[in-house]
Symmetry: C2
Subunit: 186 residues, 2 copies
Amino acid sequence: MSAYTKKDFPTHKVRRFLEPGPIVLVSSAHKGKTNIMTMGWHMVMEFSPSLIGCLISSGNHSFEMVKASRQCVINVPTADLAATVVKIGNTSGRDVDKFKVFGLSARPAEEVRAPLLDECYANFECRLSDSSWIAKYNVFVFEVVKAHVATAPKYPRTIHYRGDGEFMISGGNTARWRRLFRPGML
Amino acid sequence: MSAYTKKDFPTHKVRRFLEPGPIVLVSSAHKGKTNIMTMGWHMVMEFSPSLIGCLISSGNHSFEMVKASRQCVINVPTADLAATVVKIGNTSGRDVDKFKVFGLSARPAEEVRAPLLDECYANFECRLSDSSWIAKYNVFVFEVVKAHVATAPKYPRTIHYRGDGEFMISGGNTARWRRLFRPGML
């Protein structure tokens, strides 16, 4: 697995890695335990404060951990981690310590107690910003309070879930249509 | 531009085309006028009913049209439409009739008054399901009540926005990790 060198990244720009829609890994910590879950249902909601809407099903062990701790880290894995991402989604933190079982490295975060997943391309430290749709839809709104992004490559090769066991893998990146944007519409 | 042949598609499976995170076009109709906007901030929220959370900024002409009509169509464009998608995002329906200006074909929908964008790979007819976060976040929750998807190709070549004028274009699709999924976790 890749070990990325990372640097601080502006929190208002995390859309660069989340808006394209990759599967992400959500890490959490509560009462001395840590956990990881796979998440596909999320969206950017605001640049500044940097808000991300996320659906964490109440059936997941992470649901109670994130709800109680009011924190998590959203980690962006790349295609080399795909098999591990699937296995993380298959298992429950009630039964296993996923960091140990899958050989993942937990690095301490700066602003939250949830750990950073070292093997991921980017790590976004999050605090719960709005809990009012947790009961209704299992939707959490997080504020990204600290962001760490790999210094290379410029673009991660991310995996995007289609359901039914199928993934789309991110393809090329282009600025060829940038000249068509009006200033202020980027 | 492609003219796709489409067929009815199960509404509880629209995640196959939305969960990977493409830029979509939202078409609307209200008081005899139609409009189109470009949208990158959306997420799947439930299979059945088929719920999609969408952020439509209140600065957009489409905001009032969708809010008042309580309907829209979410259309999935492919890479061949990328320049048009950018231009749609650049212009306001207050000033121009985007169907005319961009030479797009509006096909009548079955369940809503908003038109289907014929040149798009998929069209999801939506009714507003929850308006309680419109004032707070500009977030609309829609229920997909009718879905139309192209019969070919199997996978659309979609565009995924990164901000700053850059797009990621969808790459390969694979079921190579399907065998790792536990039944019921697909």
